[in-house]
Symmetry: D3
Subunit: 243 residues, 6 copies
């Protein structure tokens, strides 16, 4: 494991891409955020509905869930439209389950009341890291939706405790690097998606060795990079929410 | 039939919404246009693939087709995601068939060669008239894709003859008006989508009386409005393509 | 635009095919009509059920809807059975939406009460114009079903106001002609489906230019033909209903 | 087991319904038969295609298969349209597998050559016994299609050996009866569908005890009735084919 | 029809395979039986749920139903997984309808109360006769589930009257034989599945001639074999239930 | 973080359940293993087919993939059968993607040649940890299938390098524990699935905090437990393969 490498983008190993979080991107949703991690752009909307799934009915608790999609030409070559194929692929289901699970980890569902907040994360343009961008942006859309509920006095207690953000890390040409773009991702031996909260706790960890299996010391280095990167992302979320 | 009415938007009966056509909105597609008709925003991408559907194989002709989608929260209340429901609805299929058919009307498929150009029209925000905005924007994306093929010398003859644009017209509180927004559309007795080319010919006409049936004189007035409106849209397309 | 042409069937430009409307074709449905436009034969049944779709429940209003199908060998070459393929195609959905919409245009849904009338239009043999035949026949089946409800004193007020009928028109070898059969339809540059009521109002207008775009004067000529043809169809419906 | 009973239709225990076999009912199919067993009416078309399913490709053999459908209002109350529900039900699949299997039992597939004959059996009106009517009618449609192939000299040897016909039998109020109509079928303890060839052999036997299990002597009586009834049906098929 | 033949397994014509019925094979289900007919092994579980399908709600009656599946590699070559293909095939639906129907034939549904018992029959290893093994094993699982309900005093009257078992018979090289294994089944001209109760009554009879049609005397011989074989199976069920 | 806790099963924190690996459980598959982790029982079969998916055709490489299923009553309450519901759920897809990915990590696909090995992992009985049991058992089935190919001299080089096994770890009542059963899994704040190879490298890491987020020291403790547990599992695999 060395620690110098020339990344395709020219970034340093521990450097995030240019991250932007644009609130109020569309007008109908209770929360609407366009998040960019470099060339990756994901539209995250939060929609509030006054009903809950069957298994929660009558329990006085709310629900937070997510759906994920990619426009057919968000990528370099066109992918089939999932609506036309008639089903969501395994990758899509896996990602939307991840987004929903991680955002529920910062919500007090009793304080939310019998409401569902659906986070739709639609990738307009993809360049690696769409799921981590989606989580990071969806958190901001969720906060905006909850603030609106508070402003309308529909809820009294703030159901959101803590913040969550996500980033990918990987071993690129033997060097641990932060926030992989597509060029790195496809060449990477190992990559890991890390979701953390603002208390420094891990919410989710998903590491996959595509080439050689990763050793414990590599894992430690990757986790260190992720912790630092997520610290920056949490700061960017706070700054966006203060505007 | 009177000729004065206060439109919800304050527009005059024959006035289009503010129309913007933004080329190169995303980076991967051969053509990528964000078209706005007021608050209606549709991302239109043109993707070129070197294959044709089965029924055209070996005939030396190309194909132009379209797919349409709406992000779940493009509208005022959230709609189910078609990919999650497992099928495209009748309205979606109807619109994408319309877009494909009208754009094929300005393409010489032999000059295109054995290629498929797919126009993906995804509504990011809806406020009435998504299908007419989609046709108007998709035409520009199509031209961009074809120009790229010409620039790469993959095709020699220009397969595009003429231009197409589309607009809706309707009878709102007894007055024929141009380019309905959602507030008008839902209150309208009659509405019609008109697609024309730059030779003044009609490509497609779809009129529906939702309340009282429309008389021949109303129809004539609506067609007049549409002809003028489409003239303006064709000029905006040309201007966008000249940038 | 000339006005003489030899149609494949030998008909005059403004001449309908031989149209027959046979009531009581099958025995179980509240209304059952076999309608023939020449060799095109469509079985239209009207089924009454004492329930309404979810969005109307408890509003005291009824619903009228349609489903369309084509037997696999109604056409010259066999088509896949939609039930076996597992979904209805875009064309099918488009047609059944059209039939339902146009028949709702002559029904007072409050007078119908909380009932659904479903019009099943199944093409036994196709030779062009199946959707216009279906609308024309389904209207008669609808009237029969409503009469039965009145006879059984389940409803008191007649929910049907006015009649609707439909015909296709097109430009065949440069000449506007009425009621296209398959041979004409496949050779036609332009064709239009027109639905009108017995007050001379337009319910629906769907024109498509498959070859060259149609000019305003062609459109006017087509509308004139349609108005006359629909007049004849409305008379045939009345005659059938008086038997 | 007594041997007198008043059947709802007034028929004798061993009496078939009025059976009609109408050839050339529609015009496009290579064979097209409307078969009526009393009020049960099934349209059976035979379609010839010059291809075979994957598992037979290149083996020089043909294939005979069937599809079955019921118009939504063929029955007393409306059934959902299978194409709209997105799948064929278990009963439909079971019946169409039965029809295909029994007709293959009288075809020399090598003599047919690499062709598929699809028998579409669509029930226009149902009053019990649709599958037995379908088999009996489909056989005639199949013969017509094969004769056409012979007339066009596309095949030389006759691929059809023997004839097949089918009938239902059941124990109604303790008495074995032939050719159940709907009123009997729904009240029957036991019913059995029998398919035989003109050599007196059994092709298929499907007996189900819905109420009390049937004894061996009842079974024997039912088989006797079926043998006689099928003899009559085979004669009716021959007569229809000689016209 | 001779009466000697060398069966691939060396069995006598009237000899069952080695049949084993193992209760309590898995731990969660109310009844769980691994049934083996030679190398055919089917896991049959009975699951009790306190609800009934919509058509029975509020009638005070219960329901017994079955589902059938085959593990992808239960057979000699791998079959597609039905869950992955997105639908159950016709054969599967046919078999599970048969299993449900025959088991309902020995249940007093009023005595069961508003409960559903679902019999899941999953083939772990197939060597012919999976449906007859499934019926024979599912009966034992059903009895176990009912006994548990009685033990828990959830029901008072025993809803099961009589027993059911099933076996296949066929004509192999001209000789009627009992309980076909895969090698025989694929070479058989005729085979029949027979379901009987312990009163000697026939519940279901499904005979298919795959090669030459079967004569009445062959049918009689097959029924005789089946009656004897089912007698043995009923005894094995009783022995298993007494353990 | 304490280090003593009473586990529901009475096991010590670092103690695996009783693990059994039974080869040759069914007879048709090239490899067939019943793996038990305590009461969790998964049947893993390896099927070899002489074809590869489209994207690999002609590249001289093989493919290893997995499918996962759970019998409806493998669990405490019955789950819907995925084949009957018409699609595999998100959890199923996620697990089968994981199994396939981790097993490909120990296969040299060029040495395998143009073959696909499909690992079907079907859960007969579930008590937590089905995916880790599946991976551990599927590896043994895969080795058996490859050995058979070698024995038949269909391949020359051994395509398997290294071994893989998997285990779950979690924080139960504040204490890191190994190999969670269902009772622990449902009460756990955090759980993680770890897949490693016999070189001590990590193939896959999937950690999820369901209650409180996990700290870095907890993560380290969990990884330590997993490393030891996987060491034992690898030894059990070797022992099973030597029998």
């Amino acid at each position: 494991m060395t620690d110098t490498v020339t990344r395709p983008s020219g970034r340093l190993p521990a450097q995030l891409r240019d991250v932007r979080i644009e609130r109020g991107y569309t007008r109908h949703a209770e929360g609407s955020v366009l998040v960019s991690f470099g060339e990756t752009r994901v539209l995250c909307t939060a929609s509030v509905e006054n009903r809950v799934p069957g298994f929660l009915r009558g329990k006085g608790e709310g629900w937070v869930t997510a759906e994920y999609g990619m426009l057919p030409r968000a990528t370099n070559t066109r992918n089939d439209r999932e609506a036309a194929r008639g089903k969501q692929g395994g990758r899509t289901l896996e990602i939307q389950r991840l987004i929903g699970r991680t955002l529920r980890a910062c919500v007090d569902r009793a304080a939310l009341g019998e409401r569902t907040i659906t986070l739709d994360c639609d990738v307009l343009q993809a360049d690696g890291g769409t799921r981590t961008a989606a989580i990071t942006g969806a958190y901001v859309a969720l906060v905006d939706a909850v603030r609106l509920l508070q402003k309308r006095r529909e809820i009294t207690r703030d159901p959101i405790f803590g913040a969550v953000a996500a980033v990918s890390v990987g071993v690129y040409r033997g060097v641990p690097v932060l926030d992989l773009d597509y060029a790195e991702d496809s060449a990477c031996d190992t990559d890991m998606n890390v979701v953390m909260n603002d208390g420094g706790g891990f919410i989710e960890l998903q590491g996959t060795a595509e080439g050689h299996a990763f050793r414990r010391d590599e894992l430690d280095a990757l986790l260190g990079l992720a912790e630092a990167g997520i610290g920056e992302l949490l700061a960017l979320q706070r700054a966006a929410l203060e505007k």
